[in-house]
Amino acid sequence: MKKDSQQIIEKLLSFIKAYNDSDDAFNQMALELFRFQFEHNMAYKKYAVARKKTPLTIKTWKDIPPIPIQAYKEVTLSSEPIEEAEAVFMTSGTTNKEKKGKNYHPTLSVWDASMVGPFRHFVLPHTQKTTIFVLSPAEEMNQNSSLSRYLTKAVEYCGTEQSQFFFNQDGLDMEGLVHSLQSIEQSSDPVLLMGATFSYVHFLDYCEERNLSFHLPKGSVIFDTGGLKGQAREISGDDFYAWITRSFGIDRMDCINMYGMTELSSQLYDQTIRKKQVEKATPPWVRTVILDPETLAPLPHGMVGVIAHYDLANWNSALAILTEDQGFYNENGLVLLGRIQGSEARGCSIAIDQLLQSQRK
């Protein structure tokens, strides 16, 4: 690994460890990281130069151009040779299976550090270890999934010996999970359930068919991620959590949603457990901004726009990424509104998405 890389990793690790929310510190680290990426990451450099943004023209982190997430699909975004990467996390590639977004991680040390601190901070603020039941695949089942890595690390760092993965080669072991939940119901030890939002939907369907419901011990937490959009079935967030409450006896404020992206190296969380607020918050090394979708200029507080994340832990690819998600800030934090859907044509001219669909027929 380059010396520069080693140095930046060291700095980042201590930044993350400090868990310090200072704007100055963030700004300084962001500018330094931008310089690093500008020098070593050719694709990002090209993108920045095309927007006349260079380390010389940039004075604050807000001037750093966020690179659209399509870049992870179309070009190689890496400051280190990709052949030597410790891990490559890939997007699921729902629209085009051949073209998956790839985030290369020369080492996972920063990613891991960035994951565990906020996980403890937002999900387990009151305890060091807890029993974790996982409804989604572990890392060994999917080396390229950042979520699998996340879940595996959560269990490794914070799980008790009773923790268990219920997703195996044959899919989610519903029966096993029911059995384990029933025995945990008998005890008074809280449990943390973790999984993709839709894993819960499948499990809840299964339970409903069999008239099963649970009363999980006090202090138990339901952790979900991924959301409900883009699935065959449309369920609203409110309906989902109401269903969780009915089936597990868990209050909405004991449910926590994590927002993560393959293209990032950090995660955002609901503040349900810390503050009884559903709005999202970031770790100190992440800033999320709302931009005007037409001009990409920052929008005033409270307005809905497209989301860009500045994530210092994303040291190898790009610290600033532009998503296709919409959101806004209220006084408590960030509210996510999901992906900006493809546009509907106004009249007889066909919308691009529909045309592509017809082509696939």
Binding site: K46, A297, S349
Partner: protein
Amino acid sequence: MQFNHFAVPDGIAFSSFEERIIEDHGATLSLRSPCLSSEDIVQLMQTIRENRQKIKDYRTDQLIQIIDAAIQKWLDPNYPLRQFAEKWVPIITGYDKNMVRLELKQFLRLFRKKELLRFIQQEFPSISVLDEFYPQSNGGWSRAYGPEFIFHIFSGNVPGLPIWSLVMGILLKSANFGKTPTGEPLMAILFAQSLREVNVDVANTLAILPWKGGNQELEAPLYQGSDTVIAYGSNETVEQIRKQIPSSTRFLHYGYKISFAMVGREALRQDLYRDTLRRLRDDMTIYDQQACLSPHLVFIEAGGNVSPRMLAQQLSSELQQYALIRTRAKLSPEESQAIRSLRNEYEFKAMTNPNVAVYQSEIGTEWTVIYHKDLSFQPSPLNRTIHVVQCEHLEESIPAILPFREYLQTVGIATHPTRLMHLSGILGEQGVTRICAIGSMNRSVPGWHHDGRFNLIDLVRWVDLEGSAEALAEQYDLDVE
């Protein structure tokens, strides 16, 4: 300012109204429309159906005079309704003020007397065939009857377009019930007002109202009670409607279509390419490409004085300058995002592929030109966004359009006369229904075959009075020896 956002026959009154407020720089327009019930719809249907009895015996040339008189009003810049439209249509649609002014003027001229005569002549042997039996050359007589009752479901992408549909209905002496779109809610109603100023009998056969599409209660009586339904809109909308219409009802629909342009190397000569550029610019800026007549893409042939890449670059300067004169409509986040996604995709492709280039407006998404050599049909998110695709020969582009056969409509073309005939033959075979000069893509001519079909003929019912009846009738004329 309040505007009664409906056109209904005399004697119809509503008890309650709702308002849609439109504001712009201190000016306020309140669109006042009735809260409708299915009883209202049924009553309106019955009234215009009865009123139709009065115009049923109007001769077609009288109707043409009436339409022409209404249109003549619109050709006066001081006509209050025109001034109203020129002020508020741009505000509601977001289209540039001057563009709306110019395009409306041009569009309305399609309905003057001389254009209407040509329009009818295109489809019928004589205008009188709509009024009386007309002799057939093989003996016997024929007469064309229009529908008694047409339900029009308009779309809002192109201002004034509903007038086309209404004029057809009036020429055929039908009772016309129209549902206005929210995108451009004014023109159909303003035109009905102009007709009222000219002839109350005709105006009394029209009912034009807004409501949110998909309202079963309001639409069911219309689907059941119309003998013809004409719908503009998405394929999904059309399918929804089709399910609700009795199979005996005639259903015409104008769904999604796509158009593109082809520029041969002959049009890239040093002395001609500027003209080519301006024509392409016009095709992709009129109503911000929202009409299905506008191009998604232009195939440009290599080997001319100006290379396709150079043309793409020049087109971008042309668009940049034009953006200052005619501002593009403000987009929804979805529309902006669609343009940004496309730009991003190609910008990253361009990093590794020298045959790709993206030219784009600097701050917003006002205009975008994507240059590449990928000979597949790439749809555009529109709003002044176009693919410029380089090809060695225009014929090479044909395989790219094959998958879209059912959607193809207009091709704007610039090429040598002999090639024009040859290419037109191929394009026609592949499903294209209209071939025109680049620069004219958005301006269809009177009497065109909309989506490859007749306009009036598709709506009428023919009645043949055969020679045998005529001959037999002669026998009963005792005075003949």
